[in-house]
Every structure is written in structure tokens, then in C-alpha cells.
């Protein structure tokens, strides 16, 4: 019997990672090329979730845009709204009350807390610790509750408005939030210990996806990714926006630069967020009503431009807002999210590591992925080649 078919397994296996993944935001395709187990190249394809938010902002009024930008990302809606609103306030030359500034910081730190818990939970799940995932998510839910007590909603809160915030807080709510935060602190310390001591977690994360401080800066990587490589950048301490100039906190950095360091930076930052939240709850100023009267807000925005930065959970988030002074809509709104830099520029980080390390590295940057695999089939009789999933190949040709 003559040979009719050849199975050609390429030396560099093309491994598309994504773009569909229901678990986390940012559908993105990582086209990985592997030589055996070793990754030799990664191409990053985007465009699966572009909703034209910047264009939409140009077509809506300054005030309606607050709700649009809050929907760029569910998990960090508050920082988006805060960054945009501060840009508008700068154009207006508006100063807000200290109480409003403190409340904004409290809300943003609760958001950082639950976001860091979420990605650490996802990392635990990705490396096979489903129970740990469930436990972290259970405790995260309590922080969501604290956020609900403060802002009125678990996720999309629309809490920040031009001139202040939408709701004030009373003594009862303060006590409830404090109680939740104190209980969560103990749990986070425990999870941090697990990530520090568990042998399997260490084996999967340590020395995986190492990035040097120099590469971080050259590739414009930001946030916990940069700080885990020893680059001390944090918009909270440099720009001192809202009340960050008055609240004591530490910028967490580590020197290891690997996936483990990135997760540990997040645990330590979660503990710092708790310190900030407790400080605010104990030192909340009462200088003025933090909720402005919407009817008295300026209807006309003067010509001007502002560029604001905020330290979102994933790193530096920036907004540029420009008003021409004629239209009720902004002339230009530019949003640069931290993942825009951290994910698109991250291709170099995977090279030299194995296929099994790919999800670990990607998760340590803070999105999530799914995998599928293919080989090429060459049909000699028909002189055609086509692609087939491994699953189909296993059934026989």
C-alpha cells in the first residue's frame, strides 16, 4: 500500500491563545510559536473589543461622558471616571472639597483591593488551585459589599461626579466598612502567606516571565508589572491627586521581576489599600458637603486641555480631554489604559519559556486566556493541506 497522507508537524508549532475567553476582560489573541515546548515568538493581535469609546465621547456631552468612560472596564470603572472627571475639573478650574477627595480615594482603594484579589484568585485557578480561587473570591465578595455600602453598587458605581461624589457616608456606614475591611485584612495576610510558602505555587511562578527594570522602562510597562521589577513608579505618589498627598502609604516594589513578584506586589498593595481605607475612615474631613448640586454645575465648558493620570489597579491610566469652548461635547478624549501598554508590548516576555508558562505570564500581567491547538495535514492524493485540531487527529485520519 502506497503512502497517501503525510502528517507534517511544523518545527515551530503555531499556538493561538485566545481571543475568546469568558472569564476576564480583554479578548486578545496571542499567536505563540513554539519549538517543542519552548516559545520562540509571540504575536499579539488586538481589535476584538474595540468599541470606539473615544469617538463616542466626542459625540456626547462632557457630563454624559462620565457614564461612558466608566463603562470602558467594569472592574476599574471608578478610576476611569475619576481620571476623566479630574480632567474636566482642571479645564473648569474647579476645586472640590477635601471630604469628596477622601471619599473618592476610599472608593478607588476598595476597587484596587477587590481587583488585586480577583487576579490573584485567577492565578490560583490557572495553576490548579481551584479551592484557593473559591476562597479568595468569597472574601473578595465582602469587599464588593463594602463598595456597595459606600457607592451604592457592587460593580458599576457611577460614584464620581464633577465637583465631588454622588453620595456621602454616615457613621453607621463607616463602621460597617471598617468591620469588613478589618476582617478581610486577616484573610489577605493568610493568602499572602500561602503564596509565599506553598511549594507548588513557588514552582509555577518563581523565575517565570522575568523582566529587567531596563526592559520595563524601554517597553513602557506600568503598574505592578513595573514595580515588581524594581521600577518605582506610582501616579498616586508622584501626582498626589485627590487626597493622596495627605494620606500616608508605601509604594511597594520588589526586585525579582518574575510572575511571583508581580502577584506578591499585588498582595502587599492590597494590604496598603486596607491601611489607606482605615486611615480615611478614621480621618475623614468634614469641611463641606461632598455632593454638589447638579443644577449649579457649569453648563458651558471653556476652551482648554487637561491630561490627568491615575494609578489604576493595573498601572498608570491616563486621560486627555480637550474642549474647544464652542461645543457642548469634548473636541478630543484620549484614553490610555495600563493594559494597552502592558499587553501589547509584552510579546518579548514569553520568549524562552515553555507553553505551560504562557498562561502564568499572561495572568501575572492581569488578563486571562484560553488555548487551542492545531497541526497541518498534507493530503498527497489531493495535493492540498488543511488544518485539524489535535482532538480530531486523535480520532484517526
Amino acid at each position: 500500500m502506497g503512502i497517501s497522507k503525510i502528517i507534517e508537524v511544523p518545527l515551530a508549532l503555531e499556538l493561538p491563545v485566545g481571543p475568546q475567553h469568558p472569564a476576564l476582560h480583554e479578548p486578545v489573541l496571542l499567536k505563540a510559536y513554539a519549538d517543542g515546548e519552548e516559545i520562540v515568538k509571540v504575536e499579539i493581535n488586538t481589535g476584538y473589543n474595540h468599541r470606539g469609546i473615544e469617538k463616542l465621547c466626542e459625540k456626547n456631552s462632557f457630563y454624559r461622558d462620565i457614564f461612558i468612560v466608566a463603562r470602558v472596564c467594569g472592574i476599574c470603572n471608578l478610576v476611569h471616571a475619576d481620571c476623566y472627571v479630574r480632567a474636566v475639573e482642571h479645564i473648569l478650574g474647579m476645586e472640590i472639597s477635601n471630604r469628596a477627595k477622601y471619599l473618592r480615594v476610599l472608593a478607588m482603594e476598595l476597587e484596587r483591593l477587590h481587583s488585586h484579589m480577583l487576579i490573584n484568585a485567577v492565578m490560583a485557578e490557572n495553576i490548579g488551585f481551584e479551592n484557593l480561587f473559591m476562597n479568595i473570591m468569597l472574601d473578595r465578595e465582602k469587599i464588593m459589599k463594602a463598595k456597595e455600602i459606600l457607592t451604592g453598587n457592587r460593580v458599576l458605581s457611577d460614584y464620581v461626579m464633577v465637583g465631588g461624589v454622588r453620595r456621602d457616608i454616615d457613621g453607621v456606614k463607616k463602621e460597617k466598612i471598617k468591620d469588613i475591611v478589618l476582617k478581610t485584612e486577616e484573610r489577605i495576610k493568610y493568602y499572602k502567606k500561602v503564596f509565599e510558602e506553598d511549594t507548588t505555587i513557588l514552582k509555577r511562578l518563581v523565575d517565570v516571565g522575568k523582566v529587567s527594570a531596563s526592559d520595563v522602562v524601554k517597553h513602557s510597562l506600568v503598574g505592578p508589572v513595573a514595580r515588581a521589577s524594581g521600577v518605582k513608579i506610582d501616579s498616586r505618589s508622584s501626582d498626589k491627586y485627590d487626597a493622596y498627598g495627605e494620606i500616608p502609604f508605601n509604594v511597594i516594589t520588589r526586585s525579582e521581576g518574575d510572575s511571583w513578584a508581580r502577584m506578591m506586589v499585588r498582595w502587599d498593595e492590597a494590604l496598603e489599600s486596607i491601611k489607606i481605607a482605615l486611615h480615611i475612615l478614621d480621618h475623614l474631613p468634614s469641611d463641606a458637603n461632598p455632593v454638589p448640586d447638579e443644577k449649579k454645575l457649569p453648563r458651558k465648558i471653556p476652551a482648554g486641555e487637561a491630561y490627568t493620570r491615575v494609578e489604576a489597579q493595573r498601572g498608570e491610566l491616563t486621560y486627555y480631554v480637550m474642549s474647544d469652548g464652542k461645543l457642548p461635547n469634548p473636541y478630543r478624549v484620549k484614553i490610555r489604559t495600563p493594559s494597552f501598554n502592558n499587553i501589547i508590548s509584552s510579546g518579548f516576555m514569553y520568549v524562552g519559556y515553555t507553553i505551560a508558562d504562557l498562561p502564568v505570564i499572561l495572568t501575572s500581567l492581569d488578563p486571562c486566556i484560553s488555548c487551542m491547538e492545531r497541526v497541518t495535514i498534507v493530503d498527497i492524493d489531493k495535493n492540498v493541506s488543511y488544518r485539524l485540531p489535535f482532538k480530531e487527529l486523535a480520532k484517526g485520519i
Binding site: G47, E54, H90, A213, V217, I233, S238, T318, N341, F348
Partner: protein, 147 residues
């Protein structure tokens, strides 16, 4: 800080301020690469990063404005390098060989505004823009795109 950036004065046409207090240096488009080369020479390539590239279509002026927001380390001071290019021939030298971190910014600005960054091999339509808009040859952030 200011003494480290003194070299910018020889390239600067005009200085402005973007609120809140971001120093803005307007430079000629043909000088932009030289400015960044000099910046690497003076500050070192690990002492600053390009945070954002913002393209704005100034249709009435027939120009496209490009703003490079640069964060100087370790102070984390944000400065802006601003340049203008003609709207009917929007091209400028790419910085990708000098600073790999400009990749997302240049690709996005090309896809949404049609600016050609000469020397960047990764530019492509559809980086973000959906295929139907790409097929129509439209750049969504142009004021007359009709998108």
C-alpha cells in the same frame, strides 16, 4: 530636573502648559527623532518612558497634532513633546527602533487617524478598527470620517 532637560531648548519652537502643569515643548516634526535620540543620550534609555501618543485631528487648521507624553524618571514628571503634521500627508519618522514602548501608540494612531510612522514595520489597519470600517478606508478619529 530642568537642567537635565536643557537640551530641549535648542529644538523648541514654543512652550505651553497642559493642565495640570505639564510642560509642553512644541518641536518641528523633522526634529522629533533627534529630540528623542538626544534624550536617550542625555538621560539614558532607562530614565524615561513614552506613556502615550495622542493624535488630534485639527481639521479647520488642516493639520494633525501629535503629542508624545513622556514620563521622566525617577521624579515621574510628565512632559509633552508636541508637533504638527499636514493633514493631507500625515507622516512622521517612527521611534520604534529607538524606543520599543511606542509600538502600541504608533499602531493605534495609524489605525485611528491614518498617521504614517515611517520605519515602523508593524503598522496595519484593523489593529483596533473593525474590518467594515477598514474596508471603507475610513479613519474613525478624523473629524470628517462620518463614522
Amino acid at each position: 530636573m530642568s537642567s537635565r532637560l536643557d537640551f530641549l531648548s535648542s529644538f523648541t519652537i514654543e512652550t505651553l502648559v497642559v493642565k495640570p502643569g505639564r510642560k509642553t515643548y512644541v518641536v518641528k516634526p523633522e526634529d522629533l527623532r533627534s529630540v528623542f535620540s538626544k534624550m536617550i543620550e542625555v538621560l539614558g534609555d532607562s530614565s524615561f518612558y513614552v506613556s502615550t501618543i495622542i493624535g488630534t485631528d485639527l481639521k479647520d487648521e488642516g493639520r494633525i497634532r501629535l503629542d508624545y507624553y513622556v514620563v521622566i524618571l525617577p521624579e515621574e514628571e510628565t512632559i509633552v513633546l508636541r508637533t504638527f503634521i499636514p493633514r493631507d500627508n500625515p507622516s512622521i519618522d517612527s521611534l520604534i527602533d529607538l524606543i520599543p514602548g511606542v509600538l502600541p501608540g504608533e499602531c493605534e494612531t495609524h489605525d485611528l487617524l491614518g498617521v504614517v510612522f515611517k520605519g515602523n514595520p508593524f503598522l496595519k489597519r484593523g489593529f483596533f478598527v473593525p474590518s467594515d470600517i477598514v474596508e471603507q478606508g475610513k479613519y474613525p478619529l478624523r473629524k470628517d470620517s462620518g463614522v
